[in-house]
């Protein structure tokens, strides 16, 4: 310890106070120089760079979030559009189906009506033929009856009755 103090006679016990007169100015000078260099480097070069990076990142995040919101809105819209399209297609399909059904019904009804009309016509024709035949047959019957009545009357009476009287008598008897 003794040699130490002898070696540093100028500042032995407590250098921070003992040496302040010798080296204080030097310390403060170099403090100012180095601190100023660091301050200007930090203030003009490094902090703006770091701040810009941080702000850029914040901006990028905000931009991405906004973009995501827009895209999500668009997706929602597409879903809505899609749903609307599906609903329209469904309505369309229903429409088409009901139209087809109505058409088919109409066709069937028309075919049925046509068949019915045809059948009715044939029925009517058949009835007409029957009544015609019957009329013809009836006409033959009255002619035969007139002949037979005239012959019978001639045999009985000997006198030939007039055809008009025979006709009237037969008609009266048959119309009876």
């Amino acid at each position: 310890m003794a040699t130490e103090t002898a070696e540093h006679a100028s500042g032995s016990g407590f250098p921070p106070f003992d040496q302040i007169m010798d080296t204080g100015v030097s310390q403060v000078f170099w403090l100012i120089v180095t601190f100023a260099v660091l301050y200007f480097a930090v203030a003009n070069v490094f902090l703006p760079k770091i701040r810009k990076a941080v702000e850029d990142r914040d901006g990028a995040i905000k931009r991405d979030v906004a973009e995501a919101a827009v895209l999500s809105g668009k997706a929602d819209e597409s879903v809505k559009q899609f749903e609307a399209q599906i609903a329209a297609a469904r309505a369309n399909a229903r429409d088409t189906a009901s139209k087809a059904k109505a058409e088919a019904d109409a066709k069937t009804a028309a075919a049925t009506a046509a068949k019915e009309a045809e059948l009715n016509a044939r029925l009517a024709a058949a009835e007409a033929r029957i009544s015609d035949t019957r009329a013809k047959a009836m006409a033959n019957v009255s002619a035969v009856a007139e002949d037979a009545a005239a012959a019978i009357a001639e045999k009985l009476t000997g006198a030939k009755p007039s055809p008009a009287a025979v006709k009237a008598a037969v008609a009266g008897a048959m119309g009876g």
Binding site: M1, T3, E4, E7, H8, G11, S12, G13, F14, P15, P16, F17, Q19, I20, D22, T23, G24, V25, S26, Q27, V28, F29, W30, L31, I32, T34, F35, V37, L38, Y39, A41, V42, A43, V45, F46, L47, K49, I50, R51, K52, A53, V54, D56, R57, A60
Partner: protein, 253 residues
């Protein structure tokens, strides 16, 4: 090495080159050298961190960003929006003190913040800045900080001198706190470390064993504590700078 025995020797300033400007001795000393080294280390780190700035940061860049966010956070919390122009200053103060303290943790390196000339000047500079900024922003209204509002006149007679004294004691406490912490911690480390050779000399092998088993863990613990103190004192200095700046920037209290 003689250096091992004297706990105060590590604080000795030695001239490396003589320099003299205008009659003032501004010789380049070991203190100046380590200041230069510290500043170069900080600049080197920041240059490395900001060399390839990208939106997705690499490790060094995110370290620098965390550091910036830490300082900007203090300034924002204490000074709010008006403190923004002072972020570079607080950042520089913190960086300068922190790197000086950390450099001091290495054996044979010189701790520039262990001298009152350095810490005292930084403290006086800080308080001077507070006064200048206060006068620029508020004019003579700045002196209202000595006269708290809502205090009866009679009490003001007592409170105002107290406020003035507390204001004037700020640079002293600010500079003294840092200087004393660094000096005290390093002295303690040195003294504890000195126990081991002393014990070895006094007690021989048993002394060496005792030193190894008892003192060494203590030294390890104190060293860890000193790393904490190195950070904490830089943080405290930066924080208090913000708090004092608030007198100049914020509302009068």
């Amino acid at each position: 090495m003689r250096i091992a025995t004297d706990p105060m020797h590590q604080f000795q300033i030695g001239k490396w080159f003589d320099l003299n400007i205008g009659g003032y001795d501004i010789s380049f000393t070991n203190s100046a050298f380590w200041m230069v080294v510290g500043v170069l280390l900080v600049i080197g780190f920041l240059a490395l961190a900001t060399s390839k700035m990208s939106t997705v940061p690499n490790r060094v860049q995110s370290l620098a960003e965390i550091w910036y966010g830490f300082i900007a956070g203090i300034v924002k919390d204490v000074n709010h929006a008006p403190g923004k122009p002072f972020i570079p200053l607080v950042f520089t103060l913190f960086a300068f003190i922190f790197i000086a303290n950390i450099i001091g943790m290495f054996p044979y390196f010189f701790t520039t913040t262990s001298h009152i000339a350095v810490t005292g000047f930084m403290a006086i500079f800080t308080i001077g800045l507070v006064i200048v900024v206060g006068l620029m922003k508020k004019g003579l209204g700045f002196f209202k900080i000595f006269v708290p509002s809502g205090v009866p006149f009679v009490l003001l007679l007592i409170v105002t001198p107290i406020e003035i004294i507390s204001f004037l004691s700020r640079p002293i406490s600010l500079g003294m706190r840092l200087f004393a912490n660094m000096l005290g911690g390093h002295v303690a480390l040195k003294v504890f470390a000195g126990f081991i050779p002393s014990l070895a000399v006094a007690l021989g092998g048993i002394g060496m064993l005792m030193g190894g088993l008892l003192v060494m863990p203590l030294i390890v613990g104190v060293t860890a504590l000193e790393f904490l103190v190195a950070f904490l004192q830089a943080y405290v200095f930066a924080m208090l700078t913000c708090v004092y700046l608030n007198d100049a920037l914020g509302e009068a209290h």
